[in-house]
């Protein structure tokens, strides 16, 4: 293994050393963690940042005047700045949320409250439930209507359907930047062009893209971006919403409470400006600091080399799976415009049984509908087995998985 395989620019052994859990032995087997699309592992830099806060700076943010509160506030705002740098935006445009789901719900509630009955939201058939259900809740509240872009045979959002689906009534297009099932990368330029032609806003669910390197959101021409901390090597319970400041300023609060106010009287309450307007109550301070450290860690990685490494693993995986009789791959057949998420089925073996067998080989994957039931319906599937990779994965992970799939094929059908 090690870096020699991929050149000196990407030292896989050095990356792996930063993730203590990768040294874990379970039932005598090393951990082959290929469930990064559900939750990535976290490097020492993140663990250390959270520990540093908890042991040297633990206090509430914003309100205290004592030294610990000042430390906590500084660390929290530094984390916001690190996230902003990772996204290529200004710190005050970054809102810490409880996760990616919470970020999408925030937009669906707050921006959604500015929409009226008959306005249309455009989603796609491959969205995660977290980018479907919040809009259905909005529909129930306000009478907006939802349109859906179908998916192509190779698991991409079918943008040839955009001209028919984007109309003057379309107010927001909300799509996965990268599919959590097929790994397909969205052609943002085409979506933004279609949206701008009718004055619609664009939101991207970046849960599966953010873990694969820094972004330059202003260059994308979009309006909102959401991602989850725990999928991006950070702690649980933290996520991010980025929004264009003029949109955030126009949006009413999502939740009321401390921190998000200007002035409270029983007659009237005014709101703080964003991002505080959208961070009611005590935030998840430690997790935010951890996410800041995760963004900083990602900034430091050579993502050109890391992406090449991840795609080499995808190729090895796809080649290996195609040698097992009865496997069927879903998603793009090529490595172009995709990220390292690969879904497959094995004829005659349910995905959960594949995943359970893989567990006995020390391989962690996700099986089932991946919170994308409309996509499963599109392909008439009970579910798939999903392999989702991170830069710390290596050939031994893929080879262990292939051995497990071959075993399942031999013994369970």
């Amino acid at each position: 293994m090690a870096g020699t395989e991929y050149g000196m620019s990407f030292d896989i052994a050095a990356v792996r050393r930063q993730f203590p859990i990768l040294s874990e032995i379970i039932d005598g087997r090393p951990v082959h963690y290929l469930d990064n699309g559900a939750s990535a592992q976290t490097p020492l830099a993140v663990i250390d940042a959270v520990r540093h806060y908890e042991t040297t700076s633990r206090a509430n943010v914003l309100r205290g005047v004592h030294r610990l509160a000042e430390r906590a506030t500084e660390a929290y705002e530094n984390a916001r700045a690190e996230v902003a740098k990772f996204l290529g935006v200004q710190p005050l445009e970054v809102i810490f949320t409880g996760g990616c789901t919470a970020a999408i719900n925030l937009v669906a509630y707050s921006y959604g409250s500015l929409l009226k009955a008959g306005d249309r939201i455009l989603l796609s058939e491959l969205e995660h439930h977290s980018n479907i259900v919040p809009w259905q809740l909005l529909r129930a509240r306000s009478g907006v209507e939802i349109d859906m872009i179908p998916v192509t045979e190779d698991g991409r959002i079918d943008l040839t359907k955009l001209p028919r689906l984007v109309t003057s009534r379309t107010k927001l297009i909300s799509l996965a930047h990268v599919s959590n099932v097929t790994g397909a990368l969205l052609d943002i330029r085409a979506v933004v062009a279609a949206a701008k032609s009718v004055g619609a806003k664009v939101m991207l669910d970046g849960a599966q893209r953010a873990p694969h390197g820094p972004l330059d959101l202003p260059s994308l021409g979009i309006d909102f971006y959401a991602f989850a901390g725990h999928k991006a090597y950070g702690p649980n319970g933290i996520g991010v919403l980025w929004g264009k400041p003029e949109l955030l300023d126009a949006m009413p609060p999502f939740m009321g409470g401390g921190s998000m106010i200007g002035r409270v009287t029983f007659a009237e309450t005014t709101w703080a400006p964003s991002p505080r307007r959208f961070e009611a109550g005590t935030p998840a301070i430690g997790p935010a600091i951890g996410l800041g450290a995760a963004c900083s860690w990602m900034q430091a990685l050579d993502w050109t080399a890391a992406h090449d490494h991840e795609m080499a693993l995808v190729q090895r995986l796809m080649d290996g799976l195609q040698k097992v009789d009865g496997t069927r791959l879903f998603g793009p057949a090529s490595l172009q415009n995709r990220y390292p998420v690969v879904s497959f089925t094995l004829d005659g073996v349910h995905p959960h049984d594949v995943a359970q067998t893989l567990d006995s080989f020390g391989v962690a994957v996700r099986a089932g509908h991946h919170c994308a039931q409309p996509l499963m319906d599109r392909f008439d599937l009970d579910g798939t087995t999903r392999v989702s990779m991170a830069p710390y994965n290596d050939n031994t992970d893929i080879d262990a998985l292939l051995a497990g799939v071959a075993h399942a094929a031999r013994t369970l059908r």
């Binding site: 006995s360 009970d382 369970l412």
Partner: protein, 135 residues
């Protein structure tokens, strides 16, 4: 290797597909979904005048454990009423280690699932569907 979950008996029960299919004109039918994993079981039954099962058939869109359980349940359900089915559910619960006591056949086959709590609902889903059909 710790792959003892899929022991030969469970695989054999699933492959036996006892009762797999649909009934023409069932007295009752019920479908249950597991929203967490997407497994789906449909149970068709015919009942006699005393509410006892005379025929049973199941359709499973689910994992091997769910298929094996539906197969095992179908093998012993005929002749039982709702109370009788509730009684054999105890055997499944015992096999899974959720109740004390020794399970009767064929549910001893599910003993390996006791160590896999996240998969126990897969075994119980056919029981839930049959309970609904009998209610």
């Amino acid at each position: 290797m710790n792959d003892q979950l899929y022991q030969d008996r469970i695989v054999a029960l699933a492959k036996a597909k006892t009762g797999a299919g649909k009934l023409d004109a069932p007295t009752k039918s019920a479908r249950r979904d597991n929203p967490l994993c997407g497994d789906r079981v449909t149970m068709d039954i015919k009942l006699d005048g005393q509410g006892r099962i005379t025929e049973i058939a199941h359709q499973v869109r689910g994992c091997l454990l769910c298929q094996a359980s539906a197969s095992a349940l179908s093998a012993v359900a005929v002749g039982r009423d709702a109370a009788g089915v509730a009684d054999i559910r105890h055997d499944a619960e015992r096999a899974l280690g959720r109740e004390s006591g020794d399970p009767r056949e064929p549910f001893t086959a599910f003993a390996p699932v006791a160590a896999h709590k996240s998969r126990q609902e897969c075994v119980l889903l056919p029981f839930e569907a049959l309970k609904d059909a009998l209610s």
